[in-house]
């Protein structure tokens, strides 16, 4: 050690240190044990070298500090205060959109993603995919080096190969890419296509908006993106469009934010928009809608045509649908929706699920245009980067050409078609006919394994990039850390192909942006990096008119009948999407919002369908085993667990994709069933199938075993009329009358709306300010679950795996309870996020024998892990069951498995303790954030009360619906105080007199009395 310290005395600069071979060897020798943490590509030396460079870059790119040992900075970066995180703007690409994000960076380690308030597609909010992005980056199962024919090689090997191979510009190269909106990517793409005359470029996404775009081609004669402005619409009619869910729509965050904003009610004078939905499976959007009708997927098109046909009689422009006469022409929903649409001309939205047929999208576009919604609540935009062709057809054609041997090289940019391509295209066979197959991917996945070359891809937090939001706002993707495994980004790969040498993503992106930024480039560039987007961007709105050819083009589709008998639907998965997030433990363990299933996919069906298949129509409370069914379609057969979903359309089964992986990663492998084999290019959404019960069963880990509220009042709800008639409908009095002891006395005292009088008068810290509290607006919550993932990222909550979840030991600090109400065939669904209630008279505190859980002066129920001996008495005595117990050393299992646990450890939030085995943990109201804000406020203003809004809990911050408010209850003007004063405010279990600090605002529905 003395030897080392002598050396440190003589450091002059980081560069000198980095070039000191002897020192490097010394380091490696002494810490050989841990040297496996980083693969050889990123050695300490190269790290330090680039670190020096990035300091020179004035801190645009942040960098990772050495993880082996804590060393003082020889020269501490000027703006860095150890322990104070930095925040940088970046954006997360998802298909061909990006969402603006802010990254919390702790001394070079990005640890938390949050929405960028300046960015229109985020507005400060995020979805589960964004929140989980951080874990994907620290995934030790990511591919660590390029591979040639399955053998690991160095990056230089690949670059030498690429330089050599692509020097021949006459090669016939096929590029198959995933959706990508990056201007740099499209610039390089255009360059490649112009230089390689025999090159072809197709885009394939298993779930895309291609059909919607083809629909606008049919309706308007041009390929356009549809943007719905839910904040401006009084009426929304969704035809199987799950537009609020991240798996249902790629702009879900903005959609959810704007929809819920339009439905915020603070007094009886406020109005809500009204949402109708016709859908097959029960989705979160369906649960949020005011009226929902279940309909088989294959019938929804006919329903749409019937609606268009009905409207054709009242408005001009829909002549194509004149005379439509099908099963739904006299349906009361068609009557009602037509009437509503005519009443709300110009401020309604009709929207269709993205996987439905182009014809149905054309009908929807035509309805919007004919009713003057187009241009007001619905706008259409040309995508500058999109080819004017049917992209799905182009992909099919490319596959047949591959099969025919037209290409000698195929470059797959980030997509995984071996796993996701329609089964009937024979993609694997076609690919085998190409000599040189290059695949850029984050994992050695199904496609990588059949390619000659696998190139390991850099995560978006590791590489420079750019992209466009759904509405065309241009952002730069700013890396937060050097690539952990030294991968290439997609633009770097394209540049390598083009230039034959490694190019820096930073230069590539800057080169593109020079064209966009006026004036002083450096200055403008810094502004873009700081803000996270280019203010002067956004798609131009196209003016549309219904095409004259619509009638002839749609004629053939008008009489397409539904699937008779049983149909199956194949949908993206709520948590894994198309399978790309399969190795993300947070997402695997996030309960699916409607079924509350973790770690599996199932065949969803209605109770009646289950009965017709001879399955029990209710689940047993006593066992995790559920019956399985055998589903055969198009010559393929799978066996999958059957799950009863009340409210699902009858004679229809919904399957989700992304599971059944093999050899992809430790998290993904062996989870669930692969359903892609059933999906063909002719049946991307639904098809007829043979379904039969197998008689065997399968174990499912579901976190909520009981569906019903049992008539209890945890959820309080009314429709708008009832609310206006009795604004205090959610009060305890309205619910329970005077049956509960203490209510009559409360009535006399005039406090009946607060619940019964109590014998206890004590209050914690009555003179102390601030006092923290939370209010959750059930009228905004639609159950997406992003609060759970945000909390998991913020509070270092471990992933425990299917077996432990199945034993009901899930660790999430905030869960979303889902209840069904009404009859099994057509129930209503309610979601209720439940964090710790922080009761003022907390029952947990009274029973702990060692006083490990106590109350703070500012009204928080605190858990002292160090003191906890783990009797679990507090968890038993918690009426809300929010306390979590470390039955095993979950954190150790989660953070120390594998050869290089240091990687996953870097994802941990340094402000939050990692909990050991045998202690209880629970929601802390993000006490680390609260205290940080208090300290800051004290330093900056001298006040011990942080300003309202300056402290946000992780769940609150992430919520796209703004359902959660948190703040100081001693400040009457704070948002949370305002919510608590609202007449819809209630707490669960008032009669227990535990006085929860977390309260709820009752749910409202804007129902149509004629339909109700």
């Amino acid at each position: 050690m003395s030897d080392q310290s002598n050396k440190t005395t003589y450091w002059k600069s980081l560069n000198e240190l980095a070039q000191n071979e002897e020192y490097k060897k010394f380091e490696e020798r002494e810490f050989a044990e841990n040297a496996t943490e980083l693969t050889d590509q990123v050695s300490r030396r190269s790290f330090l070298r680039v670190m020096g460079a990035s300091i020179a870059l004035a801190g645009f790119a942040s960098c990772r500090k050495p993880v082996q040992k804590i060393m003082p900075y020889a020269r501490q970066p000027e703006d860095l205060v150890l322990g104070e995180p930095h925040f940088y703007a970046t954006a997360m690409p998802f298909q061909d959109t990006v969402t603006g994000l802010i990254v919390e960076n702790n001394e070079g380690r990005p640890t938390k993603l949050e929405g960028n308030e300046e960015h229109p597609s985020s507005g400060g909010r995020t979805s589960i995919y964004h929140q989980a992005g951080i874990l994907s980056m620290y995934d030790p199962d990511r591919s660590r080096s390029p591979q040639r024919d399955g053998e690991s090689v160095s990056k230089d090997d690949f670059i030498n190969f690429a330089s050599d191979h692509f020097s021949d510009r006459n090669r016939s190269v096929l590029f198959i890419s995933e959706g990508n909106s990056s201007p740099t990517y499209h610039r390089l793409k255009d360059q490649i296509l112009s230089e390689f005359s025999g090159a072809e470029w197709v885009t394939y996404e298993p779930f895309s908006e291609d059909n919607a775009i083809e629909g606008t081609q049919m309706a308007f004669g041009s390929r356009l993106r549809t943007v719905n402005h839910f904040d401006e619409a009084d009426l929304v009619i969704s035809l199987d469009d799950d537009f609020m869910s991240p798996y249902g729509h790629k702009n879900s965050v903005e959609n959810a934010y704007k929809t819920t904003q339009r439905r915020k009610v603070t007094s009886t004078d406020d109005e809500m928009s009204r949402i109708y939905i016709v859908e097959n499976a029960y989705t979160t959007t369906g649960s949020y809608a005011d009226h929902r009708m279940k309909l088989k997927s294959s019938e929804i098109e006919a329903f749409t045509f019937a609606l268009a046909g009905r409207l054709a009689g009242s408005v001009s422009g829909l002549s194509a649908f004149d005379g439509v006469n099908n099963d739904f022409s006299n349906h009361d929903w068609v009557d009602r929706l037509a009437e509503e649409l005519l009443d709300h001309r110009g401020n309604a939205i009709v929207t269709a699920g993205q996987d439905h047929s182009p014809a149905m999208h054309a009908a929807v576009a035509a309805i919007n245009a004919a009713l003057d919604n187009a241009g007001n609540t619905v706008t259409y935009h040309e995508l500058p980067y999109r080819d004017d062709r049917n992209e799905r057809e182009a992909f099919s054609n490319a596959v047949s050409e591959m099969q025919a041997g037209r290409f000698d090289t195929v470059v797959l940019v980030g997509t995984n078609p071996i796993f996701t391509a329609p089964a009937d295209l024979g993609f694997a066979d076609a690919l085998a006919n190409v000599d040189t197959r290059i695949h850029l991917a984050e994992y050695i996945d199904e496609t990588s394994r059949v390619c000659n070359w696998h190139v390991n891809r850099a995560h978006f937090l590791e590489a420079w990039g750019d992209g466009l939001s759904y509405t065309g706002h241009r952002s730069v993707i700013q890396p937060q850390i050097l690539p952990l495994f030294d991968g290439l980004s997609e633009v770097e790969l394209l540049a390598t192909i083009l230039n034959g040498e490694e190019s820096s993503g930073y230069d590539l992106v800057q080169e593109t942006w020079e064209e966009y930024l006026d004036g002083d480039f450096t200055r403008a560039w810094e502004v873009v990096l700081h803000d996270g987007l280019d203010e002067n961007s956004g798609f131009d709105t196209a003016s549309v008119s219904i095409s004259g050819n619509l009638g002839s083009e749609i004629q053939d589709h008008l009489n397409e009948g539904p699937v008779s008998g049983m149909e199956i639907n194949i949908r993206p998965d709520a948590t894994l999407f198309d399978g790309r997030f399969a190795n993300n433990g947070w997402l695997q363990e996030l309960p699916e919002p409607m079924t509350k299933i973790t770690w599996d996919n199932v065949a969803l069906m209605s109770p009646a369908t289950a009965e017709s298949l001879g399955l029990p129509s209710e689940r047993s409370f006593r066992t995790n085993n559920v019956p399985t069914v055998r589903i055969s379609a198009g010559g393929e057969t799978i066996e999958i667990a059957a799950w009863i979903q009340p409210g699902h359309a009858d004679d229809s089964i919904t399957l989700t994709v992304g599971y059944g992986r093999d050899n992809v990663g430790r998290v993904a492998d062996g989870v669930g069933i692969d359903t892609y084999p059933l999906r063909t290019s002719q049946a991307m959404l639904f098809q007829g199938a043979d379904v039969e019960a197998t008689g065997s069963s399968y174990e499912i880990a579901c976190v909520q075993d009981h569906y019903s509220l049992e008539g209890r009042d945890m959820i309080r709800t009314a429709n708008m009329d009832e609310y206006r008639e009795n604004p205090e409908f959610a009060s305890f009095k309205s619910f329970h009358g005077f049956e509960v002891p203490g209510m009559k006395e409360a009535e006399r005292a005039g406090t009946a709306h607060q619940g019964p009088v109590s014998l206890f008068t004590e209050q914690y810290g009555p003179d102390h300010e601030p006092q923290w509290g939370m209010a959750i607006d059930l009228n905004a919550c639609f159950g997406c679950g992003v609060c759970t993932i945000a909390c998991q990222a913020e509070n270092n909550i471990p992933v425990i795996g299917k077996r432990e979840v199945g034993r009901r030991r899930i660790m999430h600090w905030i869960r979303t309870d889902r209840y069904f109400e009404g009859d099994q065939d057509n129930p209503k669904v309610y979601h209720q996020p439940v964090p710790c209630m922080h009761c003022e008279l907390a029952p947990c505190e009274q029973v702990c024998p060692v006083a490990a859980t106590t109350h703070s002066d500012d009204g928080m129920n605190q858990m002292t892990y160090n003191r906890c001996i783990g009797t679990r008495y507090c968890a038993n005595n918690c009426p809300f069951k929010v306390r979590r117990f470390n039955f095993f050393n979950y954190a150790k299992e989660y953070l120390t498995t594998g050869d290089d646990p240091e990687i996953i450890q870097m994802a941990m939030n340094p402000d939050v303790t990692v909990r050991f085995r045998g202690v209880i943990e629970k929601c802390s109201y993000c006490v680390q954030r609260v205290n940080k804000a208090k300290i800051k406020s004290r330093i900056e203003t001298g006040s011990k009360k942080p300003a309202d809004g300056s402290v946000k809990t992780a769940c609150q911050q992430a919520c796209p619906a703004n359902a959660i408010t948190f703040g100081d209850l001693t400040d009457e003007n704070s948002e949370v105080s305002q919510h608590k004063m609202n007449e819809r405010n209630y707490v669960m279990l008032e009669e227990m007199n535990v006085r929860p600090r977390t309260s709820y605002l009752a749910k409202l529905r804007n129902t149509n009395s004629e339909l109700a």
């Binding site: 209890r712 945890m714 030991r809 209840y819 024998p849 009797t871 095993f888």
Partner: protein, 476 residues
């Protein structure tokens, strides 16, 4: 109309016309005879079970509480059930030795030593569970109010802390009481044993007892004082154990009836356990003259009474759930009888409420075989009572979203089975090395010890030699 009543003597407590010497021989010869082979077999089997207990505890501490079937709503499972069950069993011993002593129930002397030993071993088995069920056993000493530099005290509001004091006090007093009662008998064995080591060991533990008047005087006083101290403990320990549940706010736990209900249940199960062990031992060791059918009948009467108290408590719980109007409590009781754990509930009712009713029949309660059967049934029933209370309330409490089913794992089961290893190993050692009947006390209740040498008028009457036979009551 005039009635005169004749003095009705109690039936003799000891059958078979024994004198002091034969009683001494009958009991202490068991300790002096060479060890029977069967004892080694049974002790070996018990030791295997004890090993099972040690292994399962070792694995538990190594791996964590997760090896049990506990889950999110059900944070207490078999460990707490077993704790309450074993503590409950222990109650019979203290009740027999202390309360019946103060009430001058002389028949207790035949079984008190035996029952007290059972108490001590049962409390040992019970004490294991609260210790090992915690998540971090290595810091369990934090439940004791040890002065420390942080001035951090335990939470005196917590019923678990009261438990710590209640159970440790109970164990200490029971052990002392048992030992004090043993002293004269240890001296007897010391005097009769041939082996030198035996003489030293028994002599050491006999504390120099010589049977002087002074010794007897001190002995009787200290025994009386300890009985007085132990008596409230009989009521307090299970009352405090019941507070673990009653002080919480969980529906089905939060009930004021719990203290008397738990104490009655404890006596109920304790007497059943004493009967189970006694019926075996009196047969094997030929102690039928001391532990007579009259004893069995008396104990069966207590089982009948306490069984009905428990049954009444079950009914009252339902009544109050309805009468109290708390919907969660109503729901939990309906779910107990008809919900997912209905099987456990009806086992409990069948074993605890229905089976003791057979003891209304004099014939059945004097039947040794039937009593043995019922005594086991009652202990099964009482285990299920604790299961129903602990698990069902947690499994389906306030928020339907958190409802969840609990089932034990392999380790839950074998930890419980392992405690029988500890119990029987200790009990077999007791049978082998200590007089299982309180010989000195027993002699005190023999007719020979109570020569009535004066009549009602105070005149001297020479002592009768023959033992009075029971006479039927005659009414004129």
């Amino acid at each position: 109309m005039s009635k005169t009543y004749e003095y009705v003597p109690e039936p003799a407590l000891i059958k078979g016309n024994h004198d002091f010497k034969s009683i001494t021989a009958m009991v202490t010869d068991i300790n002096l005879r060479p060890t029977p082979k069967m004892w080694y077999v049974l002790f070996g089997l018990s030791n295997i079970l004890l090993l099972v207990l040690l292994v399962s505890i070792g694995y538990l501490i190594w791996e964590g509480t997760g090896i049990w079937g506990l889950n999110q709503p059900v944070g207490w499972g078999w460990a707490i059930i077993n704790f309450v069950w074993w503590v409950g069993i222990g109650h019979a011993g203290t009740l027999i030795s202390a309360i019946l002593f103060l009430f001058r129930q002389d028949w207790r002397t035949a079984i008190n030593r035996f029952a007290e030993a059972m108490t001590i071993f049962a409390v040992m088995c019970a004490g294991i569970f609260p210790a090992i069920h915690v998540g971090r056993i290595w810091v369990i000493y934090w439940v004791f109010p040890l002065p420390n530099q942080m001035a951090m005290w335990p939470n005196f509001n917590s019923p678990l802390l009261w438990d710590v004091f209640a159970v440790s006090t109970y164990f200490t007093v029971s052990l002392l009481f048992w030992y004090v009662g043993l002293v004269p008998d240890l001296a007897t064995v010391r005097d009769r044993i041939k082996s030198k080591i035996g003489k030293v060991l028994y002599g050491t533990f006999a504390l120099g007892w010589r049977g002087s008047n002074r010794h007897w005087w001190n002995y009787e006083k200290s025994y009386m004082i300890l009985a007085g101290l132990a008596t409230p403990l009989v009521l307090s320990v299970h009352t405090i154990v019941s507070f673990d549940f009653a002080v919480s706010i969980i529906p089905g736990w939060h009930t004021t009836i719990f203290p008397p209900y738990f104490v009655a249940g404890a006596v109920f199960s304790g007497f059943a356990m004493v009967l189970t062990l006694m019926i075996i031992c009196r047969k094997i060791y030929g102690l039928e003259d001391i532990m007579t059918v009259d004893h069995i009948e008396k104990m069966n009467l207590i089982i009948l009474v306490t069984g009905n108290m428990v049954g009444f408590a079950y009914l009252m719980e339902f009544f109050i759930a309805w009468y109290g109007g708390v919907e969660y409590e109503k729901a939990i009781f309906i779910l107990r009888a008809m919900g997912p754990y209905a099987w456990a509930y009806w086992i409990m009712i069948a074993c605890n409420v229905i089976s003791p009713q057979f003891f209304w029949s004099k014939k059945l309660r004097r039947s040794v075989g039937f009593t043995f059967f019922i005594s086991i049934v009652v202990n099964i029933g009482m285990w299920f009572e604790r299961f129903v209370i602990t698990v069902t309330s947690l499994s389906t409490d306030f928020l339907p979203s958190s409802w969840g089913y609990y089932s034990p794992t392999f380790w839950d089961v074998i930890t419980y089975i392992g405690t029988f290893g500890l119990f029987f190993s200790s009990f077999l050692l007791f049978l082998r090395f200590l007089p299982m009947v309180a010989v000195a006390e027993l002699k005190g209740v023999m007719p020979q010890a109570d020569p009535h040498n004066y009549d009602e008028a105070g005149e001297y009457v020479p002592p009768k030699v023959e033992i009075p036979e029971p006479k039927k009551e005659t009414v004129k």
